[in-house]
Symmetry: none
DNA sequence: TTAGCACTCATCCTTTTGGGTGATTTACTA
DNA sequence: TAGTAAATCACCCAAAAGGATGAGTGCTAA
């Protein structure tokens, strides 16, 4: 509420100082005339006071002027790579559930032995599965299998 | 500059009207007293005028408040263009150019022999490179290396 | 009921991969 | 100029992966 007033304190102070200075000069130079010019001083005081009052009222009443600046900020978002399983390819390749499990663990970089341990089946079985996997995917190595599966959107 | 003045025209007009009305009433009802109260009227006029002056000054001086509105504009990057090579990780890992080449071909599912043929160097050299690669990437198998490189955005 | 499929496991053998070590050349740097 | 790092290659050995084949079990659809 008074912030605006304080904001223009300088202007007001400047005006006041000027008025005071003028009055002082008058008082010093025309000291003897003051008494006969009481009415002038009185009027000046009224003028000054009401000017300040006017300013104060205006600042108090006046709604702050708003100047709207619209800044466009561009944010680059990386879309959540929503993995969409390629059902078409999956059904076409006709991979069994076990084969898919093995494929997924393969893609994580696990060795056949680790996969066997995780799935509670023997290493030989994993080898069988992986061999069938390579046949169905038409690849020769596990790295190729993983790469192809990734391209076909069979795995994330 | 005068926009502000016009904006508060209503307030000013209201004040003026009120003052005029009061003066009018005094003039009508206390017509006979006016002459003996000339000084009061004069003072009132001064007060009114300077109040208005103050208001006018204040409105003229007042700076508009700036209000910044930030509009966020979200742009989703195309997933196809999203591969940004992770330079930070790349420099931290301190992979040599040859090692990077081997890594890339590895990720494509090529065997060491194929990579050797492609790069016109011996199989043994490829083995040396891949071994150093695994050391630097802190992995044990090539599938893990590919997986980790993919996660670190070293390869697409 | 039987043929087919998925899943399991095994054995034998080959290829690929990985670890370890050492050596040479080249190019750049303190 | 000596030292360092990258790149090259070799040899040996072990582990992992892959290919081929056979076989047992359980479930399902023709």
């Amino acid at each position: 509420m008074f912030r605006a007033f304080f904001k223009y304190k300088l202007v007001i102070l400047y005006g006041c100082s000027l008025a005071v200075l003028l009055l002082l000069m008058r008082w010093l130079e025309l000291r003897f005339l003051i008494l006969s010019h009481t009415q002038d001083v009185y009027n000046g005081a009224i003028a000054l006071i009401f000017t300040i009052l006017g300013i104060w009222i205006a600042l108090k009443i006046a709604k702050p002027k708003k100047e709207t600046i619209i800044v466009e900020k561009t944010i680059y978002l990386q879309p959540e790579k929503e993995f969409i399983l390629n059902q078409t390819a999956l059904t076409e390749l006709n991979l069994s559930t076990r084969e898919m499990e093995v494929l997924e663990l393969m893609a994580k970089g696990m060795s056949n032995a680790e996969i066997a341990e995780k799935l509670f089946i023997s290493l030989n079985t994993i080898k069988t599965h992986s061999s069938k996997l390579y046949e169905k995917l038409e690849v020769k190595r596990r790295t190729q299998a993983v790469e192809k599966a990734r391209q076909l959107k069979l795995i994330a």
